[in-house]
């Protein structure tokens, strides 16, 4: 069974308010090396073996899973 792992994050040009708060928190904890934190979403999608999984996942990201106006995505397909 093909399984896709999808990573969705805000586009680099957009300020990530959650990431900025985490960056400050990490600095306060002494992790001074932190330059930037970006918070995103991780999805696992299991597919039936029919069809091209890459093509399907690409269409799913375009239509629903990511908002191309503000987000970028990448994915890996296993199995």
């Amino acid at each position: 069974m093909p399984k896709a792992k999808i990573y969705i994050t805000l586009k680099p040009a957009l300020l990530d308010a959650q990431g900025r708060v985490l960056q400050n928190a990490l600095h306060q904890l002494g992790f001074e090396s932190v330059q930037q934190v970006r918070v995103g979403k991780y999805l696992e999608v299991e597919l039936s073996p029919d069809g091209d999984p890459h093509e399907q996942i690409e269409a799913m990201c375009q239509k629903l899973l990511a908002n191309p106006v503000i987000e970028q995505y990448r994915y890996e397909v296993e199995g």
């Binding site: 805000l10 040009a13 957009l14 300020l15 308010a17 959650q18 629903l64 908002n67 503000i70």
Partner: protein, 225 residues
Amino acid sequence: MKAGVIVFPGSNCDRDAYHALRDVLGYDTEYLWHADARNLNDYRLIIVPGGFSYGDYLRPGAIARFARIMDSVRDYAARGGLVLGVCNGFQILCEAGLLPGALTRNLSLKFRCKPVHIRVENAETPFTRRYRPGEVLQIPIAHGDGRYVCDETTLQQLRANGQIIFRYCSPTGELGEEWNPNGSVDHIAGVANAQFNVLGMMPHPERACELLLGSEDGRRLLAVS
């Protein structure tokens, strides 16, 4: 005059909108269920209300835009029908591609629930022609994801075409970061499509239709008849 208020699972401003349209403005108002396809031709105004449709799963508005009623709304808007999206309704219209841009998490990461001031930037739309240009309105907000963003090209187009309908401002109409409750680009509180028949805004005009509730500045916006 007929007006419709769409009801999604998780809408929670549908009753406020219904009350404003029916009891305050006296329109023949109907709820429109999300799972029904409807011919909306004889409606004068459709409101996509606020709330948390489908629990804001994935992104606010991401699931609601696939509801059957949204195909009817798309057809209605394409024929020039007036559509007002408030708060979650604004998010849904952006997700549906009926309005440009998107709404992201408030810069403060806090849910902001308070009266704010907004300035009428374009008083020549079907929604705003009963206001003076530059008029300052007091309208409440209640949202966690209201930071309007769009790419630079879109922003230039919005400015050039007069599609920025409302900006957050001080009580006397000045712009400033301290008056911008969510970090929206260019202080944007509401935008319209290029034809000006679809308007999305984060503040809630339906909650500002009676002095008893603190303001009636939203009333003229809904008085589209």
